[in-house]
């Protein structure tokens, strides 16, 4: 186990900078998720930690060692790939024991280690099978087993659940989380799925276009997103973001005034703001609420998603109630003023 520190990491491909000076501190035993849309540089960053990509500038520390110039095998890391990357011509046991075999371990010792890892992952019955004889979920577990056997300081996961179907993904998510709790190792996990990030992480690192947007615990990111991007990215459905004008404790959106409990910092009366409210923080109110023109009603069983417009701007609401309103009807809603997020339209930074 070890802490991982990234110091001003940069990556340049053919004169194009793709990672712009990223600083992250990952504590010993922490589960950190790098999340962001495709092309944000999260996988590149992970591959730089693994030693599969060169670092153009900056320093990567694993434990107390700077590993910039170290080859992947000397960094004491293990990686689980999106494609699993199991050796097709080797059995499960050989796949899992390959790294130990390369280190020159004795056969009985390798066998014991492999069996120990197999037991953790329920793979005992599959040890003599070949990868092609396994299901997607089993392959994924073998890939994790291969990592566990090495007993590395840091586990790296590169979108390991993307190739699985939705149901299996939920199961494996739980298994990875349980594995982390059991092993207590430092784990760095890359995904584009913010639900995975929210459910698994101790700490989330949100990236966009090679820049670090925000680092924090899942709930801190959810409750206090630092900017419009994080506000829209974290949470499903995403936060409603409406442009309006701040005046006297309200944000005016069209001819509707929405109250806010907190005055924006550097607020001047009449300044333009982006008003953010999460779909689940909209509540149904009696008459006199904000009129929402309903466009689509999506019942999910547990809750109802209503997509519509407030003063011409698109709004989505999530309600516990079962709503039978038809498209074109009005729904009277209210927003909890304490749950409102305000952002500056130019810098897109949080201002409350």
């Amino acid at each position: 186990m070890a802490n991982v520190n990234l110091r001003d990491i940069r990556k340049v491909y053919n004169h194009t900078q793709v990672i712009h000076g990223v600083n992250v501190d990952i504590d010993d035993g922490e589960f950190v998720v790098l999340v962001g849309p495709s092309g944000c540089g999260k996988s590149t960053l992970l591959r730089m930690i693994a030693g599969l990509e060169e670092i153009s500038d900056g320093q990567i520390h694993i434990g107390s060692t700077i590993v910039n110039e170290m080859s992947p095998k000397d960094r004491d890391i293990a990686m689980v790939f999106q494609s699993y990357a199991l050796y097709p011509h080797m059995t499960v046991a050989q796949n899992m024991g390959f790294s130990l075999q390369l280190r020159g371990g004795a056969k009985p010792e390798i066998r014991a280690q492999v069996e120990k890892a197999a037991k953790i992952l329920n793979l005992e019955a599959l040890l003599e099978r070949y990868p092609r004889q396994l299901s997607g979920g089993q392959r994924q577990r073998v890939a994790m087993g291969r990592a566990i056997v090495r007993n590395p300081q840091v586990f790296l996961f590169d979108e390991p659940l993307s190739n699985l179907d939705a149901k299996l993904r939920v199961t494996m998510r739980g298994e990875i989380k349980a594995l982390h709790q059991r092993l207590g190792s430092t784990m760095i996990y890359v995904t584009h799925d913010q639900v995975e990030a929210m459910t698994m992480a101790d700490k989330i690192v949100v990236m966009r276009d090679g820049f670090l947007e925000q680092v924090g615990t899942p709930l801190s990111l959810y409750d206090r997103p630092a900017n419009v991007f994080v506000a829209g990215f974290i949470g499903s459905p995403g936060m409603n973001l409406l442009s309006g004008r701040y005046a006297e404790g309200n944000v005016g959106i069209g001819d509707i005034a929405l109250p806010v409990s907190e005055r924006p910092s550097s607020a001047s009366e009449g300044r333009q703001v982006i008003y953010g409210i999460r779909p689940e923080h909209l509540i149904l109110s009696g008459d006199g609420g904000v009129p929402l023109v309903v466009e689509v009603v999506e019942p999910t069983g547990a809750e109802t998603h209503v997509i519509g417009r407030v003063a011409g701007q698109r709004v989505i609401g999530v309600f516990r109630e079962r709503i039978t309103t038809r498209p074109g009807d009005f729904l009277s809603i209210a927003c909890d003023p304490a749950k409102v997020h305000l952002f500056d339209p130019q810098s897109e930074h949080r201002i409350n």
Binding site: A50, G51, L52, S71, P72, K73, I77, A78, M79, F81, Q82, S83, A85, Y87, P88, H89, F98, S99, L102, R103, R146, R150
Partner: protein, 298 residues
């Protein structure tokens, strides 16, 4: 009315397949006929050769080879004569000695070259690859004179060494080209996983890449076996028609001198044909799989 509509609807699907089934059958018969015809055209010379090898000289001089099916009087004397008297036995050994190292060397060097080009990043990689493609269009005859001078100067003519080297040299560019596509299609995740597991580049090559490339390596080996086994010009130039001459050279000189008669020659020819024939028939599935390996993801 209602009833008849239902009946006609029921009748329709029965009628439609019966015509299409007939068409399908005709198509199949035509296809089988064409394939059969090709087989006959290809197989007749081989069959005539095979039958003649078991006929006596006198029979052959009086009647055509197909008479063997009317009056079957097989003799083994043609083979005995070819193997012991006409030197074919010795030249089979020579052919094997010439071919096996050539095949092994070609596969090894092509694989190493293709691995470097497909999996390693170094300056001039594209230029080397293009040069390799370019070498394939050079006629082999172009290099024979300079090579002969070169090996004469080294005093290596009259040995197998120049033949091995030239045979390899002529096929390795194609081998690299063939294997490059396959190696490049092996997911880079596998190689990276091996690198993280602690494998060195040679180990990745021998323990990951080569075991995954069995079919394509086998097809290259078969191809090179056929080429080396059937080459006449190169061994003739570098080995002459002496005691080291392979089967092709031996059969050619037998045909020129007509020593031992026509039937001995047919036996010698059949021996030279049968080895690649058996090889390609028994290994054809690897050949097809290997050559198509890079094209379609398995």
């Amino acid at each position: 009315m209602m009833m008849s509509a239902i009946e006609s609807r029921r009748a329709m699907p029965v009628a439609a397949p019966s015509t299409s089934r007939l068409g399908g059958r005709l198509k199949r018969i035509a296809l089988h006929g064409a394939v059969l015809l090709l087989c006959v055209v290809w197989f007749t010379p081989v069959l005539s050769l095979f039958v003649t090898t078991f006929r006596s000289e006198s029979d052959s001089s009086l009647t055509g080879w197909w008479h063997a099916f009317v009056e079957w009087r097989p003799v083994l004397s043609n083979y005995v004569e070819a193997i012991y008297l006409a030197g074919v036995g010795r030249s089979v050994v020579n052919s094997i000695v010439l071919t096996i190292p050539t095949v092994l060397g070609t596969v090894l060097f092509s694989a190493i070259g293709a691995f470097a080009l497909a999996r390693m990043r170094f300056r001039g990689r594209i230029a080397v690859f293009l040069a390799m493609v370019g070498f394939q269009v050079l006629p082999p005859q172009l290099v024979l004179v300079p090579m002969l001078k070169f090996f004469l100067a080294l005093g290596l003519t009259g040995t197998f060494i120049p033949v091995w080297i030239i045979e390899m040299g002529l096929t390795v560019p194609f081998g690299i080209f063939l294997l490059y596509g396959f190696f490049a299609s092996i997911p880079s995740d596998l190689v990276e996983a091996a690198r993280i597991d602690g494998a060195s580049e040679p180990r990745i090559f021998f323990q990951i890449i080569l075991p995954l490339s069995g079919a394509v390596l086998a097809s290259l080996a078969i191809l090179q076996f056929m080429i080396a086994w059937n080459h006449l010009l190169i061994p003739l130039i570098f080995l002459g028609s002496g005691s080291l001459s392979p089967l092709t050279v031996q059969v050619a000189s037998l045909a020129q001198t007509n020593a031992g008669g026509l039937n001995t020659l047919t036996a010698a020819t059949f021996i030279s044909v049968v080895v690649p024939l058996v090889l390609i028939v028994s290994l054809q599935k690897y050949f097809v799989r290997g050559v198509l390996g890079g094209a379609v993801k398995g």
